[in-house]
Structures are given as structure tokens and as C-alpha cells.
Amino acid sequence: MTRNLRILLGAASAIAIAGAAAAQEDVTITVWSIDGDDRPGPSDTFSAEFSEMDNGITVDYRVVPFDEIVNETLRAYATGNAPDIVSLDNPDFALFSSRGAFLDITDMVAESDVIDQDAYFEGPLNSVMWDGRLYGVGKYTDTIGLFYNADMLEEAGIEPPQTWAEFEEAARALADPEAGVYGATLSARGNEEGTFQFLPVIQMSGGSYENVNTEGAREWLTMVKGMIDDGIMSQDVLSLGQWDSTGTFNNGNAAMAISGPWEIDRMVEDAEFDWGVTLLPTFEEGAERSSALGGFNLGIMSTTEHPEEAFEVLEYFVSQDDRLFPEFGYLPTRGDVELPESGVPLKDAALTLFQEQLQYAQPRGPHPDWQQISKAIYDAEQAALTGQMTPDEALSQAQSTIDGILN
């Protein structure tokens, strides 16, 4: 008995020592991203895969919620506990790259066999550049379009709307308060999501983030306010994020929804009706188009102790770009990735549409103070939609705030 016990103990301590030795050899790379919070995403999946490979690098992955990731990273950076790799929403990237918080990877990329700078689309590439140097790579990109419930439209004999006037007309025709069906839904939430959906409206009416008080933007706010007041759109568009807002569309409680390609997989599962996507409406037929450029970037923090190993992790992530769409419904940020047909007709049709929409997608910023500019924009949208201010008052207030930041 005691002999057995001694052997067991000996074996256990041998294992413990071996384990400690193996742990010492492994370099740990910490990766922070929002992926894996409400559904599996590329960064959490690829991190786990890379970590399981026998290559001396362990990846310690942490999910940070969307609302927290900039804060957490800033705080961690200021206190010297920054992760090695972090994935940020593209307009937030410049805050870090402009201050040298991201590692300049221009030369590493030039020597890399995996990452080819020239393959990237212009919008996503611009968001990781600062002063002509490269500070990261695009992880995936997305944009927004108009989803519609094809069954409802067909029943009412309405074509998918191409202008905002048609959009309002269709929404008013399709809304059925008795049955709890709204005409349309979108997200005018008081955070980046609000700006993400509202800025394209400003841009397609001739404005930009530097010049927000356009006639089109005022008209649009008046239109949406009218729809909320008349119960054509739920007042909850002011507090719902895009994911929750589109959830009401999937349940058949809204006839149209403004959202992006990240919705497709869930919609294929959940929506028990025929649906389609069309380009974001414009002000006049054939008028200027615009859409939001979304998506996340990956960067290595300049405080990392293992830049080579971190870059290896980054290379692995980039090498898996061809899985982004089939597995996660995200669009790659580069043009040299073949997107296979999924065999689901609705999904493939939506993909084609969103790829067309991407041509009109315009980046937010890049500007180091993007958060302040964005706040001015979503504050104005909320103030106008709640009736606190007229659209003109709200947008001129935003304009003067933005002028103060830009100058």
C-alpha cells in the first residue's frame, strides 16, 4: 500500500515537473477581441486552433464586450498590462496607431509570405495606416444594406424600395400595429452603432463626418421621427443595437431592417419567411450612394515582449481568411480570397448584394478623436428623434462640436 502510494506520488511529481518545464518553453500571446461574446467568431476560433498546435506558442484568448474593448485596451496600455494582439473596430484604430500604441509592422509585412499589403481593399487598408506606415491588418469588413421580408412585400405588391421616399411609403403600407408588425426597424442607439447607420445618410446627401448638417440628413431625421411618432417604427430603435433590432425582423415583427451581413447566418436559421437584401436607399433615383464601412482590424500592441511570435499568430489568422465567410458570415478585407458558394440561395444572393454595397462603403475617420466626433453625431440623431431639438438645431450643435474637435 505505502509502496504503491510512493510510486504514485513519484509519478505525480514527475508529471508536475514535466508540465512546468513545458509551460516555461511556451511563449504566451494574449489576444483580445469581441469575438465569441454572443456567437463564435474568427478570433476566438483561430486562437484556440493555433494554441493547440505544437509550435511553442500558447494563445491566451479573452473575450471583451464591444462596449468595453477600447476602454479595456486603453486602461491596460496605460498601466503596462496591454495584450499582445488586440482587435478593434476600424474607426477606433487610429486612436492607438496615431499615438504609437500599435507596433509598426510595415517591414515585417514586406518580408512576410502570408500577408500581402497590396491585396487589401482600400477602405480597410486606410484604417490601419497612419502617416504612410502600416500598424495592423483588416480582420474582416462589413457594411449595411436593407433587408426586407419578401413575403410581406409580395403580398402588398411592393417592390423593394430604392429611395428613402419609397422606403417610407413601403414601411407605412406594411406596418400592421394590430398584429404587432412594424414597417421597418434600424438602430439609432446612443453609441457607435447609431453613428454607423446614420453617417451613410449624411454622406449620401453630400456631407461627411466633417460636415454633418446637410439638407438630406435633416429630411431623413424628420422622416424617421414621423415614422416613430406614427408607430410605423418602434420607439425602441433608440435603444436597440443592430443585432437586437434585426431580431425583431427575423421574428416577423418588422417588415424591413437596416443591418449588415453578420445577420445572414442567423436569418437563414430563424426567419420563417422568404427574405432579401437590397442596397441602402438613396435620396433620388440614381443619386449618390453610400454605406457604412464596418469591420474590425487586428494590431500588435507596441508594448509586446514577443513581437515575432505575435506576428506568427497574426499570420495564422490572416491565412484563415478564406473561412471567414463560409463559417462566420464575415467578408474578408482583401480581394484575393475566393468566396465559395454556400449552397444556400438566400445567403449567396445576400453576399453578392453586400459585395456590391461594399463599393460604396466609406470609412469613419480615421481620426484620433473619432469617439468624440461619433458622440456628436449619435447625440444629434437621438436629440432629433426624441424631439428634444429640431433636426436643424441638433445637427448644427453637432457641427459646432465637431468643428471644435477638428480645429
Partner: protein, 300 residues
């Protein structure tokens, strides 16, 4: 030397030692951060000079800019509604429940204990649950109110600027109810029963007994509960991100959430500090009331 040692183990030295440890603890963990916060409010701070010690001096600029923000008045008004609404609600319901549970009925103390569940739960969890209850189109509260025939139209608790601050206040009343009830129960239990018996013999009715015995005997407890309520309400933060995010259009934004937005949304740490320094004034008043109302409690 020996005298010092012996006074340390038994005597004035021991008292001083205890006070000293507490003081050092307070100065390190509460005093210094407080001073640092006040200092921040007079400087220009962003994320990248946050770790540095010398920063550009801003004087009173931060204060001027905060006061001239268009939402300043709205945030102050909301803070007032939230603080006074919460305290009034928590105190009134808490007092009523405390008196109710003083009555002898089976399982009275067990049920009273169950009320503590609300107080034990983390604010974010409470916020998430209330977020579902208060949701507009598919919320529990709306379903109940509509089922009872009290309202016809959907109430957008979280998205209607006229309702949003009340929605968060409602959740906070629920959250703080148990704490108020427990403290007040303790106060009630300390009142000698024979006072009530004597009053009853003299023909005092229930209302008279309440106003002439319960309330005067509870004065210091009530003062403490109200002062603590003010402090807890001013530091209540979790409910805001979980329920309304201060929106829509700042209609449910309060000073403590606004300070956080300045610091961690816009990354203007000086403005965030400025708002918290302004709040400090209110908390100091509350602390003074608390100290004053508990002055009779323990004398060593």
C-alpha cells in the same frame, strides 16, 4: 522605552496604534485617490499622459466647459430625480415592509430574510433582468400592465425620454428596498415593547403610536438610512449601462454615469474627474448628516 512598549500593549498607545492603522488605511485608499481626482480636474488629461505625473494645467477650464455643456442641466435634473425618487421610494416601501414584518405571523423572519436576495444580487444582473422587464415591445411589465387593462399602448420605458429616468429609478428602488428594510427593522426591534403597551393603555390609536413613539425613537436610524441611501444612490452605476445607457438623448443620464462617459467613452479623464468632484460636494453633505445622526450611537 518599556513605558512606551507597555502603553502599546495596554493603554493609550494601543488606542493610538489602532487609530493610526485605520488612518493610514483611509489616507492611502481613500484620501490619496480623492486628492488625485481633484488634481485631475484642474489638468488636461488624456489616455496617453494618464500615467505621467506632470500634465498641462487647465485651471477652472474643465469646470467652465462642463457647466456649459448643453446636457448639463438635463443631467443635473435627472440626478435629482434619481436620487430623491430612489431614496423616497426605498425608504417608504422599506419602512412599510419593516413594520409589516414586525407583526408576528408564521415565517415572518424567513420571508424577511428572502427579501435580502435583491440586495445580494450584483447590480449588472439586476440591471439585465430589469432591462427585460422594462423592454418596450416584448417587455414583461408592459405585458402585465396591458393584461390588467391599465395601459392600452406600449410604454417604451427604456426609449421614451419622458419615462427612461423613472424606469431606472424603479429598478433602483427595488434594489435598495431590502437594505432599507433591514436597517429599519433593527431600529424598530430596539424600541422597548412596554412603551407601546403603556400608550395603548392610555388609549393611543395606531397612528398616534406611530407618530409619537416609533418615529421619535427611530430618529437616528432614519437619519442614518437616509444618509446611506443618498450615498448608495449617488454611487449606483451598474443599472445605467444595463438598462438605458443614459439614453435616449441623455434623458436618463445622471452625474455618475456622465462622469464615466467622459472618462471611458470620450477619454477626457479630466472632465470625468470634474464631474465627480462636483458630486463629492453632495456626498460630503450626506456624510455630515450621517455622522450627525449616528453621534448618539457609540461612545467609547
Amino acid at each position: 522605552m518599556r513605558r512606551i512598549l507597555s502603553s502599546l500593549t495596554d493603554g493609550k498607545g494601543f488606542d493610538l496604534l489602532l487609530v493610526g492603522i485605520t488612518l493610514i488605511f483611509l489616507i492611502l485608499l481613500a484620501g490619496l485617490p480623492l486628492v488625485y481626482n481633484v488634481l485631475l480636474s484642474f489638468q488636461e488629461v488624456d489616455m496617453f499622459n494618464l500615467a505621467a505625473f506632470s500634465r498641462p494645467w487647465a485651471g477652472l477650464d474643465n469646470y467652465r466647459e462642463i457647466v456649459s455643456q448643453p446636457e448639463f442641466g438635463l443631467v443635473m435634473r435627472n440626478t435629482g430625480i434619481f436620487v430623491f425618487g430612489s431614496i423616497a421610494g426605498q425608504f417608504a416601501f422599506g419602512f412599510a415592509l419593516a413594520i409589516f414584518f414586525m407583526a408576528k405571523f408564521p415565517f415572518a423572519s424567513t420571508i424577511r430574510g428572502l427579501f435580502l436576495v435583491s440586495w445580494v444580487m450584483p447590480g449588472l444582473v439586476v440591471g439585465a433582468i430589469w432591462g427585460w422587464i422594462l423592454a418596450g415591445d416584448f417587455g414583461v411589465l408592459n405585458a402585465v400592465l396591458q393584461g390588467l387593462g391599465i395601459i392600452d399602448e406600449t410604454m417604451f420605458w427604456k426609449s421614451d425620454p419622458a419615462l427612461s429616468i423613472w424606469a431606472v429609478t424603479m429598478a433602483n428602488i427595488w434594489l435598495g428596498l431590502a437594505f432599507n428594510m433591514m436597517l429599519l427593522s433593527v431600529g424598530l426591534a430596539a424600541i422597548p415593547r412596554d412603551l407601546y403597551e403603556a400608550a395603548e393603555l392610555d388609549g393611543a390609536n395606531g397612528f398616534q403610536r406611530f407618530t409619537t413613539i416609533t418615529v421619535p425613537m427611530m430618529r437616528s436610524t432614519i437619519g442614518a438610512v437616509l444618509a446611506l441611501g443618498l450615498i448608495y444612490t449617488l454611487q449606483q452605476f451598474d443599472l445605467f449601462p444595463a438598462i438605458t445607457e443614459g439614453g435616449p438623448a441623455n434623458s436618463s443620464n445622471v452625474a455618475q454615469y456622465w462622469a464615466w462617459q467622459w472618462s471611458f467613452r470620450i477619454f477626457d479623464f479630466a472632465k470625468g474627474a470634474t464631474v465627480s468632484v462636483m458630486m463629492l460636494a453632495f456626498v460630503l453633505i450626506a456624510s455630515a448628516v450621517y455622522v450627525w445622526s449616528t453621534r448618539a450611537e457609540v461612545r467609547g
